[in-house]
Symmetry: C2
Subunit: 350 residues, 2 copies
């Protein structure tokens, strides 16, 4: 019924009539009596041309609605003003903030970021890298240091600027900007130990996919062992992380007989979900259950019981990576690794 209703007012595709079919520089050229080259110069504001020529062209463009064809332009000049940005997800504020930082620097420089999302799938990442490279971008900003050998080869071979972001624990193809996830895990472990927790659990998503979460996990476990402790329990849920995933993970841990007193979550999303669950069900945090996350999101800090977390420099990572990309394009040398550091947020949840 709904369908038939909709069908009644279907609108046909736009007729190819009406719009003056002016599609190329040549059209503007013949319309103004100038040559293609002069029109091209005016369009780009490069080279020299008379005021008269400029006005003629502008008028013609206004009248016809001519839009420059960058496909052809980029092909002719052999460069494309594009910068590929490849991230695992945008379902998480973390990467959108990085992207915001990147745009903030790239756009004023006349470059256009083009986003691709891998969904934490390295095969997909490889395919996306190839697609992106086929647009002949000026550079690539890509999340993480772990890629398939083929992807690394592709990126290296491209000869363009490659900036890896959000992780510095490993060896970059060219240049890495971010922070140490391993260190983040260690900091929370040390904090838990100092606060006297002994029956400690971890809750996160499948570690084979989110490599950076895995690095935090390893740093966490390693630091526990330094203090003679080990993980009492862990829960791994499928991607993506979410408030619900955090809540479910905590419930699972509490239902088990493990008698946990503190949980380290993969990130703030999950930790906040767990914290909300505790608040709703009058589970005393941190007395009955201590919680900690990662990223230092506002939502965790604003909770009645502020979440123990670690602030990651996300926008800064975006900005810095874009700046380094510009340095590279200017032919400058860049550091192999830029550590933007982390900030521990004690909170009250542990």
């Amino acid at each position: 019924v709904l369908n038939s209703k909709l069908n009644q007012r279907l609108v046909a595709p736009a007729k190819t009539v009406a719009k003056l079919d002016v599609k190329t520089l040549s059209d503007i050229a013949s319309r103004t009596g100038l040559s293609k080259m002069t029109v091209s110069r005016v369009m780009r504001g490069e080279g020299s041309f008379s005021v008269k020529a400029k006005e003629k062209v502008q008028k013609a463009v206004r009248e016809t609605g001519y839009v420059h064809n960058r496909l052809a332009g980029s092909l002719a000049t052999q460069k494309s003003s594009l910068v590929a940005v490849i991230v695992p997800t945008i379902g998480n504020i973390v990467f959108t903030e990085v992207l915001a930082g990147i745009s903030q620097v790239l756009t004023p420089a006349g470059l256009q970021p083009v986003l691709a999302v891998t969904d934490y799938d390295l095969e997909r990442e490889d395919a996306l890298v190839e697609t992106m490279l086929s647009w002949r971008p000026q550079g690539v900003i890509i999340a993480g240091l772990e890629h398939t050998p083929l992807t690394r080869k592709r990126l290296k071979r491209s000869g363009i600027a490659i900036i890896e972001v959000m992780d510095i624990d490993g060896s970059p193809i060219d240049c890495a900007v971010g922070f140490s996830h391993s260190e983040a895990g260690q900091i929370i472990a040390r904090h838990f130990v100092k606060q006297g927790y002994r029956r400690i659990a971890y809750a996160g998503t499948d570690l084979t996919y989110d490599v950076r979460a895995a690095k935090r996990f390893k740093g966490f476990v390693k630091e526990l062992s330094v203090h003679g402790l080990h993980l009492t329990a862990d829960v791994m849920t499928p991607l993506p992380t979410s408030l619900e995933a955090g809540e479910n993970a905590l419930r699972k841990l509490m239902e088990s007989a493990a008698d946990i007193d503190a949980v380290y979550f993969s990130n703030d999303d999950m930790a906040v979900g767990a914290l909300q669950y505790c608040l709703r069900n009058a589970i005393a945090v941190p007395e009955a259950m201590a919680l900690a996350g990662f990223n230092g999101l506002g939502i965790g800090q604003g909770m009645p019981i502020a979440l123990t977390s670690i602030r990651s420099p996300r926008v800064e990572t975006g900005i810095r990576s874009a700046e380094l990309l510009l340095d590279r394009l200017a032919g400058k040398g860049v550091p192999r690794t830029v550590n933007l550091g982390l900030q521990f947020l004690a909170g009250q949840s542990s």
Copy 2:
């Protein structure tokens, strides 16, 4: 000091050596002894070619790392597999969810979404539309129905598929997919009235920028007036919305002598910030202060006192808009307006 430390290990730009300089189809052609055309056919898997030719080409591609040049390909075929997606912000989960829905449909169809962010600036939107059109995309998915006359003209004139999303209160260029913001405002007003609130306030960001928030506001105020009520107070903060903006707005309202009993916020971000503030400061919600937002985000629903809100179909909007785009590309007719509806979430905060 830090700087000098970094400078010590600056890495020079990659030498243009090493990589076999194989950049074009012709290179593969001469390497395999085949013609450009045969190589092209194999690369695209189109037309016919022998198994032998295929194997030769694949081997050469593997060895040389040749990457297809879409700039040239798109220019030759006069079509580009690109779809422009233009949104006001990505600092808000709302639009990233729409984008996720779009990618989910477009990617399997062999199309590539290209994102551009306007920051709620119509002049910037116009510039971005022109830039996007210059890449000759197959279509444009753009948030909202309000654009500058020039932008509308550009889009119309482009002759490609144009889908406007996230709003249906107005007349689309071609086809609009989303929901009614005006209706969302009305629903909350009706709810507030029914619950017995009489000293009602609104808190949001500058309405001249976020047109959709303005529509919710108008729907809200209009419905209040139907019930003989008017807004007791309002606070407008600068963009972007955030938890802090919500908290600050609420505090401002409480400090004034207006004696407010309920506040309608521009969106869940702000409302959750305000709710968190109340929880931290033992302000009884909804007894001392009732709160409502918009979007129905998980974070609001998970609060110890669930936020009154309205769930907007964000992923669905993305999916549906992309589907309609595909319909258009297939030459099919499409409805002028698709209303995906809203879902009221009563919560406990009002």
